[in-house]
Symmetry: C2
Subunit: 270 residues, 2 copies
């Protein structure tokens, strides 16, 4: 299945949650520390309990790279637990000159076999082009992020009247000749989402910032509903995977994603 | 030794070349393919021949990540060949929300023990702050890059009259309270270098783009000389490591870096 097919299948089922596997040995339930590989066991149980309700899993590469080669092995083993028809996003935030981005694209798409990746747009078209050449994969370019620093550059106004993030969105739309582009748009920027959503066209949208970062699920879903678009994925990481730190954490994660799915469906069908 | 001490030591010796270990098994001398680990052998011979003349080695993480865990092991083994007093830059171009950047900083500085890193500034201050907290390490933020895509966003004019890359440089100067910040400025942008160098203050400057990308060594060195600044590193990757593909490639790399050092010294002392 192509990345687009997987994502459209899940979106068609009304699933919009991307479970962020920002798994940190210091934060997982402590009873798992007796396991041979505690984080792998944690990921396995989270996936087992959420796989029938998640649209996607987002693996944040930083959380695996920090342990070097061993961490990357953990990443690969984790990916084996994820069902074939669920989109796997490599949250890598890469972007470099062409010949280097070619290597990064080989890394995320050929070696690790992610379905999708997140990319920094700062260096312009040729820095993301090698990823976009993979027509059956999805590339989410950072537009407006969920963190406080989004005001430093992303929200700066350009001479042409647009903000930088709006210029990025315009460019990504122009690069989207293979229907394989998306943007990252922080859910913490609710007003900007409302103001800009009509310009997203067919771009897939990955929205982090719900939960620990304070973005509103209701605000996001309403904005997409009112704009009659359903190409959106809401990432929830810490608020879901660490919902409960007891031996029942898997069940708690399952209840949390079911509750999120229900909330989305309620808002959508209101 | 701190990263600053290493770099200032090398700059004080008149050394300004960062050898880019963009090592690719498809491009290294073919006689090495009989080795157990061809790329490691290649890196070892390049380092052996250039270590007394290089200011720094820049390891491009993409070239190692593309082989996953095995690639990261190669990266670590390569770093062991580099002398203690030569700066090692992890060309990682990372940048994410705070808690994720903390993980990336742990990866590059604590796990891999790089002296310096390259970072994407797009997401603003809190996305680079975890790196800047390492006061004895150096962080080079992308300002104006050497690739064609630098025109897409970096060179856009803001409403305040500055270009985006100039705004980034201004911000990096404000963030440089620990004298541990640098910028990446592509040597292919000679006119912009001349026009902006006076604004660099004490920032360390990493300049890629000489050699395969077409930037001029003379232009760069002259600009720094005329501005009376010596905090610059010129990266040379492909034009040095692949100068010769015969069994004498190590010697050829040595001759190339000696020739580059001589050219720099001639221009500097003219």
């Amino acid at each position: 299945m192509t990345a687009q097919e997987k994502l459209l299948l899940q979106l068609g089922r009304g699933r919009h949650i991307a479970v962020g596997l920002d798994s940190d040995v210091k934060k997982i339930p402590q009873h798992l520390l007796t396991e041979k590989d505690p984080v792998l066991k944690f990921n396995e149980i989270i996936i087992e309990n959420t796989q029938d309700f998640a649209a996607s899993y987002k693996l944040n590469l930083a959380f695996y790279e920090k342990d070097g080669a061993q961490g990357l092995e953990l990443l690969q083993k984790t990916m084996e637990y994820i069902p074939e028809d669920v989109l796997i996003i490599g949250d890598a935030k890469r972007g470099d000159i062409g010949n280097t981005s070619t290597m990064y694209a080989q890394s995320v798409f050929d070696h690790f076999k992610f379905d999708a990746v997140t990319l920094h747009p700062y260096m312009g078209f040729d820095s993301v082009e090698p990823f976009l050449e993979y027509k059956d994969k999805l590339s989410f370019m950072l537009a407006l992020t969920s963190n406080p620093g989004s005001k430093d550059f992303e929200k700066l106004e350009l001479k042409n009247g647009r903000c930088l993030f709006q210029e990025v969105i315009n460019s990504v739309k122009a690069w989207n000749t293979k229907d394989n582009c998306g943007i990252v748009f922080g859910a913490t920027n609710e007003r900007e989402l409302q103001d800009n959503i009509s310009s997203f066209d067919r771009l897939f949208v990955l929205l982090p910032g719900i939960g620990a970062q304070g973005g509103s699920l209701e605000g996001v879903v309403k904005a997409f509903k009112e704009s009659n678009k359903d190409r959106f994925l809401i990432n929830v990481s810490r608020a879901l995977i660490y919902k409960d730190l007891s031996p029942h954490f898997g069940l708690a994660a399952k209840e949390e994603i079911l509750s999120l799915n229900n909330k989305i469906s309620e808002i959508w069908n209101k």
